[in-house]
């Protein structure tokens, strides 16, 4: 998915507020038609980056290039891009119809044509037609999302930006809208640039993901690459619950793990460094009856178990670490809290990352 013309390119962009660099020397190519997601914790500079892409802020240093043209000084209202804001920024003093038609009205489109386009869009985002004259403050959270989406789509922009629009929505509706958004991306074929602090959300929707940390874009890759080959401890922990074990290179090509008080077999270090973190995903961990069943084994005691619908999660105390094991419900561990258990994993399921 990374092939093709870049529709939007940023070159060495830095944004400074006073002495603080909110975005620090970021370069990125966004390919025409892809769903690109920027993920980072709050304060990592992702909103600032997006505002520069949309033309709401100007970079302090560096260039924003849209279809080969430098657009640093082109204001947002002259760019063929549109944004869905975190707060949605709906015009609360206007109706659903007036909100959706706003960009068309600004361009001097006739009333009849505006209404026709509005009805078409309401159909696309699954809003009932009789919402046309309803005040936006009277709409539910999900409906407001749809109005914001339709409003941004109205002028048929080349690129759609999304600034965490789903962050304030309850879990079930969020899951539904994630899927709808991905379907919308497929149906419209537009370039979507999405930011979120949830890597889980990014995984569901994106063709490619960029991870931001402290103003820098530290890793770019497909969801699969990010999942299986996280660049460092920050990225691996950002993906949700993982086991990260601090290790040092020891004898026999194995790693010493002081926290567990044992030697572990691990993959060859990618950058040749002799210390780092061994990352093992909870679903790669399993309960063992015999040490020979896995490349690595650890003894511990079952601290607690948590039912999570289709899966069950176990916390196992081993050494000074609390290890997380996750099983499908059908393969649940049959035992008691405080049982002495043996868990293990294979070398191929672990990754060695730097700090």
């Amino acid at each position: 998915m990374a092939e093709g013309e870049p529709i939007l390119r940023i070159e060495n962009v830095t944004k400074q507020f006073g002495k603080l660099s909110a975005v620090n020397d970021v370069s990125l190519d966004i390919v025409d038609g892809e769903f690109f997601t920027i993920v980072g914790p709050s304060g990592s500079g992702k909103t600032t980056l997006l505002r520069m892409l949309a033309g709401l802020d100007k970079p302090s240093v560096g260039d924003v290039i849209l279809r080969g043209k430098r657009v640093n000084d082109v204001p947002a209202n002259k760019r063929p891009t549109c944004m869905v804001f975190q707060s949605l920024a709906l015009f609360n003093h206007r109706t659903v119809g007036q909100n959706i038609e706003f960009s068309l009205k600004m361009r001097g489109v006739s009333r009849a044509a505006r209404r026709e386009r509005c009805m078409e869009l309401m159909n696309v985002v699954r809003l009932q037609e009789d919402y046309y004259a309803k005040g936006v403050t009277k709409c539910s959270g999900g409906e407001r999302q749809r109005v914001a989406l339709a409003r941004a789509l109205a002028s048929d922009p080349d690129i759609m930006f999304f600034d965490e629009p789903l962050s304030a929505i309850d879990y079930q509706l969020r899951k539904l809208l994630e899927v709808e958004l991905k379907d919308l991306h497929r149906e419209t074929g537009k370039t979507f640039v999405y930011i979120t602090h949830s890597l889980e959300e990014a995984m569901v929707m994106s063709d490619r993901i960029g991870i931001m940390q402290a103003g820098c874009l530290i890793q770019i890759g497909s969801p699969d690459e990010i999942y299986t080959q996280p660049l460092n401890k920050f990225v691996s922990e950002f993906m949700g619950e993982v086991n990260t074990l601090p290790v040092k290179a020891g004898a026999n090509g194995k790693f010493d793990c002081a926290d567990l008080g044992t030697q572990l077999a691990g993959p060859a270090s990618a950058n040749g460094s002799d210390s780092g973190y061994l990352v093992i995903r909870p679903e790669s961990m399993r309960f063992l009856d015999d040490p020979a069943e896995a490349d690595n084994h650890v003894k511990g005691s079952l601290f607690n178990e948590y039912a999570m619908g289709s899966r069950v999660q176990y916390h196992v105390r081993a050494g000074t670490q609390m290890l997380v094991v996750e099983k499908l419900r059908e393969q649940a561990y049959k035992g008691q809290i405080n049982d002495d258990v043996m868990i293990g994993w294979d070398v191929k399921d672990s990754v060695l990352v730097s700090d």
């Binding site: 947002a76 600004m106 002028s155």
Partner: protein
């Protein structure tokens, strides 16, 4: 296993009297009642008396049962209506001037000045600590003919003999704008600060230029504040008297001045009452027209 709950029995419907009694016992009503009583005794009562006086014959001082509308006829026939034209004209002009000044200043205070907003605000507020009459008398001293600060300085420094700016409608208007500006400024500023930054960003992102953002987003959202400010200023300006007396001399008699004249010098309470009621009626109608366009609940953030 799920259980179904029986529907609760319907609540007994209270009759009208009971529900009115409950309404009276609301904490909100109870806490407001002292003010309500004060208003009834101190405001509504005297107003009813003034209303009564406006219907008794000229130069009488009691109610003897002979009602007449002559006083209202006199307002028109004896050219008191000119006072009304001056008062309402000056008030409208004051509101217009105050809005023209307030909007940019409010915009600056709400969006541009940043940490300088507080000092600027202080500069705007400090003159309010001095009585209106004293401030107006200051202007009088500045503008006084011959010995005034303006004319005197011109003569001493440049040897130029100048006339005076006093006693003209323009000077009265300046005085009124000067005195009533805060009543427009602060509500306008409140209104403008209600405009969310991201809605302006969104409008820009959706292709609106600066003027379109102003017309489509800023102005409609700030409108309640602007309307309330204009209303306050207008109502106060209609009742203004010091500006015209101090800066306008006897050339222009505004409504409040006419009322004062009838109640004191002319000893004609009925005519004074009629002029008062007429002024209240016109102002009241204008206020109601404006208030109908206002959603106070939304303005107070209660939705």
């Amino acid at each position: 296993m799920t259980t179904t709950l029986d529907a609760p029995p319907p609540l007994p419907q209270p009759n009208m009297l009971q529900s009115f009694g409950q309404w009276l016992r609301q904490p909100g009503f109870l806490t407001a009642s002292p003010v309500l009583i004060f208003f009834l005794i101190g405001f509504v009562g005297p107003l009813v008396i003034v209303l009564g006086f406006s219907f008794v014959p000229e130069r009488t001082f009691g109610f003897h049962g002979d009602w007449t509308v002559d006083n209202y006829v006199h307002i028109v026939s004896e050219s008191y209506y000119i006072s009304f034209l001056w008062s309402f004209g000056l008030a409208a002009a004051t509101v217009a001037c105050c809005l023209l000044i307030s909007y940019p200043v409010s915009y600056g205070l709400a969006r541009v000045f940043g940490r300088w907003a507080a000092p600027v605000m202080l500069i705007l507020v400090i003159p309010l600590f001095v009585s209106e009459n004293v401030r107006l008398f200051g202007w009088y001293l500045v503008l006084l003919k011959g010995g005034g600060i303006l004319a005197g300085s011109a003569k001493a420094l440049f040897g130029v003999e100048t006339g005076t700016l006093l006693y003209s409608p323009g000077t009265i208007l300046m005085g009124m704008v000067y005195v009533y500006l805060p009543y427009t400024l602060f509500p306008t500023m409140l209104g403008l600060s209600l405009v969310p930054r991201d809605q302006m960003d969104a409008a820009s992102d959706l292709g609106a230029n600066r003027w379109q953002i102003f017309r489509e987003v800023e102005l409609p959202i700030a409108m309640p504040g602007i309307l309330i400010g204009s209303l306050l200023t207008f109502v106060l300006a209609v009742g203004a008297i010091s500006e015209a007396k101090l800066l306008g001399g006897a050339n222009i008699v505004v409504v409040a001045h006419a009322i004062l004249h009838e109640f004191t010098y002319a000893q004609n309470w009925p005519l004074g009452s009629a002029i008062s009621m007429f002024a209240i009626a016109i102002t009241g109608v204008l206020v109601i027209i404006v208030m109908r366009r206002l959603d106070l609940d939304r303005l107070l953030g209660r939705k």
